[in-house]
Structures are given as C-alpha cells and as structure tokens.
C-alpha cells in the first residue's frame, strides 16, 4: 500500500469501517510508515480531547410531563389519569408568564391550600381521641390556618441535620396518622377502608415541590458565575446531602406510605432542597 492510499483510508481505518482485508493492509503499512502512523495518532489524540468536551445534558423532570401533556391534549389516543389531568392544570398555571419567584410562590400557595384542606378534613373525620393521640407532636398548639411549610425557618448548617425536627408538616402527618389509625380501627370493626385521600394530598404536595425545585434549579444554574467557588462548593455539597436524604426518605415512604414520620422527613427534605436552591438563586 502506498502512502496516498493509506492517507485516503486512515479515517475509515480509525473509525473501524474498513473490511478485514483492507484493515490488515493498513496495519502493515502503518507499522512501517511513521508519517501515516502520525496521522492515525493525531486522530486518536483528537478523539480523546473531544471526548473530554462536556456537553451531556440532564433531562429536566418536567420534560416527560410536557411530552405526556401534549400527547393528551392533542388527542393521540393518550388518556390521562385524574392525577395526570391535575398535573396538566398545575403545569399550565406555571407556564403562565410569571417570574420564577412568582411561580414558586404559586406552588407554595397551592401547598398551603392543600394542607389547609387536609387539616380541615382531619378535623371533620378524625375522632377526638385520635386527634389527641399525637404523642410525637409536642407543642401542637397552633393558630387556625397556620401551616408549617411556608413558615418554617430551615437551619442552613447541613441538609440532614435540619430535617430531624418533628415540628413540621403536622397537617400531612396528622392526616396520615389518622389514616393509619382509621385503617386499624376499620380492621377492628371489620369495615372496608376509606380512600387514602391524605396520601393523595401528599403526592400532590410532592409534585408541587418538584415543580418548584425544577424552576429553582433552572434559575440557579443560569447564574452560577456570580457565586464564588467556595460558596458554590458548599451549596453543592449541601445539595448532594439533601438529595441523598430525599432519595432515602422517598424509599421509606414508598415502603411505608402510611408512616407519618417518613412522610414528615421526606417533605422536610424537599423543603430543604427548595431552601438551598433559593439560596443559590439569590446570588
């Protein structure tokens, strides 16, 4: 093989596109020709450099929801559950031209409303003795309509330490506790269990936290240059810790959806993440 032939085929050889015979002929030539082998080395070197170009994007959690919603809206034989339809309504609300802060405020407002409704439901449905049996909720005295999610101040010293307090999400927790106890009492009485409405509320609150997190993540990532590296590193490590906590608490909730403590910790972790992202966005 001559150098001209080799030069013409070196790209295909490097890309593994030559047949066995041509590749063997190339190998023989390359072993004896420093000029042609330099070209091959150059291609290999460039490939290594190009591989270090970081261009992989992570998929936003909202992307699938958007695809699914569009398929449902355009009537492609795609039907949605009731939960999915409520998600569409919520995402439409968020897609209005609000600023990020306004959208987050809407999300938090929705959570407050949901928890308020839950609290009201619990008042109506939970027998008095159950309402008084909150042995793990010290300091239960609350003003009417007060909710924990928006009023809680999160300790900024680390993600996991700040979510241990049992003072949070009493509405959700009480709802779930009531649900658990109702389940037990229905077993005792032999009655069929009622629908798990508090669980559905928790799911919805979770979804809304997720929407707020997606918005804040986007916002935070658009302005990292304003952060000095030390602050960014601290915030990133806080995020890592809180992400880990979210994952573990979600697993716990999935295993025991009626465990009030697991739900309480999970929602606290979400809230902590919102706080960290808000902190990142504020720079």
């Amino acid at each position: 093989m001559k150098c001209a032939e080799c030069q013409a085929l070196v790209q295909e050889y490097f890309d593994g596109e030559l047949d066995q015979r041509a590749a063997a002929a190339m190998s023989v030539h390359l072993e004896s020709c420093p000029s042609c082998s330099t070209e091959l080395e150059q291609l290999a070197f460039e490939q290594r450099v190009y591989q270090s170009y970081e261009h992989e994007l992570e998929v936003s959690p909202a992307l699938w929801v958007k695809v699914r919603d569009r398929l449902a809206e355009e009537d492609n034989g795609w039907t949605l559950t009731l939960f999915g339809r409520s998600q569409i309504a919520f995402s439409k609300l968020l897609s209005l031209r609000f600023g990020t802060a306004a959208a987050v405020a809407v999300a938090l407002f929705a959570i407050v409303v949901i928890l308020g409704v839950m609290k009201q439901q619990n008042k109506q449905e939970v027998p008095k003795q159950l309402a008084l049996s909150s042995e793990t909720l010290p300091g239960e005295k609350r003003r009417p309509g007060e909710t924990d999610i928006v009023s809680k101040q999160v300790n900024s010293n680390g993600a996991e330490g700040s979510i241990r307090g049992p003072q949070k999400k009493r509405g959700v927790v009480a709802g779930l506790r009531a649900e658990t106890v109702r389940g037990k009492s229905s077993l005792v009485n032999g009655n069929a269990r009622e629908p798990k409405t508090p669980v559905q509320f928790v799911r919805k609150a979770e979804q809304q936290y997720l929407s707020a997190i997606a918005l804040l993540t986007r916002d935070a990532e658009q302005r990292p240059s304003r952060l000095d590296s030390e602050t960014r590193a601290k915030l990133n490590s806080a995020l890592v810790a809180v992400n880990r906590t979210i994952l573990s608490t979600r697993k716990a909730v999935q295993r025991n959806p009626n465990d009030p403590l697991a739900v309480q910790y999970m929602l606290s972790a979400y809230e902590k993440k919102v706080d960290v992202l808000k902190e990142m966005s504020s720079y």
């Binding site: 170009y53 261009h55 994007l57 992570e58 492609n76 997606a214 960014r232 990133n236 994952l247």
Partner: protein, 214 residues
C-alpha cells in the same frame, strides 16, 4: 446532579401514579417490544422509551442548536412526533437511529426558521454539564475545560449544518457510518466526505488548543 435527582424523583412519582401492571415492566425490554406495546396504547412502554433515549436525544439536539432551552423544546417535539408516527418505523431494531433522525429533522427546521428570522441559534458559553461540575475540579482544570468547551462550542457553531450533524454523531455518539446514513439519509460517500471535512475544520479551529494540550 440536582436535575438527575429530580428526574429520578419524577420517575418515582410516575411509579407512584401507576397502577399495578398485569405484567412486569423492566428496563431490559427490547426496543421491538416497547414499540409494539406503545403502538397498542401502552403509555408505560412509551415512557420507558422516553426514559431510555431522552438524555442522548436532548444532548444531540443541544449539540446541533447550542441552546439548552431550545434543545429541551425540540426534544419535547421530537418525542411527540415519535409517538404520532410509531407506525412508520420500518425496522424496530433501529429505534435509536429513528429517534435521532426525527430529532435531527426537528432541529433542522428550527435552525432554518431562526435563520429566516435572522436570529443566531448557537450561543457561545460553557455547557450545562460544565456548569454543574465546575466545583468538583481544580480551578486550573476548570479553566482549561471551559476554554476547550468554548472553543468546541464555537467550532461546532461554525460548521456547516450537514457536517455538524455527521461530526456530532460520529465523534460524540460513536455512530457507525451506516447508522449516520440512517439518521441523516445521506449517502455513504457524503458521510465520509462531510466527516473528513468537519474533522479538518474542527482541527484547524482548535489547533492552538490541541497543540497546547498535547
């Protein structure tokens, strides 16, 4: 990192929403099986297709258009079109090539629309991945990575559209020439020529950088 987690959570949430399936659903499902079930209206199967391919398709489109927001919008359009045209797949084993082909067409339409409106479509700036990982490497390495990223981003932006898509599919995605032909509809000769010219152009534009790095 955080979005990856958010995606995981979204996946989990979808799992919470799902009713127990009559048969077990696994990520080991073959493309043929997922396509067949999606065609029959199994939404879970199409969600699995999305999960499997959304990230590479999104990154591929981002390489073509250079803007994250636009890339997300076009990825959404890609999967909507894919669902609508599931019946048009001729070879179910080539699901990836088929999806990338739709993504390429969607991106091309967007690029041409923007060119008609005299808008630029490729922005110069550090990539999303770089921004996320910036704090995990040394400042010197971070600077070097950013320089490479900017140079690469510019070099891609300046490539002719056909050359860019061939370069991206081969160099970043390691597609074979025939897979590139499937995605683009180009002839083998055009794939080889465009790839060679794209490599030469990128080499020229990154020349000083490549020399310094070597």
């Amino acid at each position: 990192m955080s979005e990856r987690l958010a995606l995981d959570l979204a996946v989990d949430l979808a799992g919470l929403e799902r009713r127990p399936a009559s048969h077990s659903v696994s990520l080991m499902n073959s493309s043929e099986d997922l396509i067949s079930r999606s065609r029959a209206g199994d939404q879970e199967a199409f969600r699995l297709i999305f999960e499997r391919y959304a990230r590479p398709v999104l990154s591929f489109i981002y390489d073509l258009v250079g803007q994250r927001d636009l890339a997300e919008e076009l990825t959404q359009e890609t999967f909507v079109r894919a669902f609508k045209s599931l019946n048009s797949i001729r070879d179910e084993t080539k699901l990836a090539s088929w999806l990338f082909g739709i993504g390429r067409n969607v991106a091309r339409e967007a690029i041409r629309a923007r060119l008609r409106d005299n808008q630029t479509f490729l922005e110069v700036g550090p990539s999303d991945a770089q921004l996320r990982n910036g704090a995990q490497v040394s400042p010197a390495q971070n600077l070097l990575d950013k320089e490479l990223s900017l140079a690469m981003h510019n070099a891609l932006a300046l490539l002719d559209e056909d050359r860019r898509v061939v370069f991206v599919l081969k160099v970043f995605r390691q597609f074979s020439y025939h897979e590139i032909m499937d995605v683009t509809g180009f002839t083998l000769a055009k794939v080889k020529t465009d790839l060679h010219r794209a490599r030469c152009e990128v080499r020229r534009r990154l020349g000083p950088f490549l020399e310094a790095d070597r």
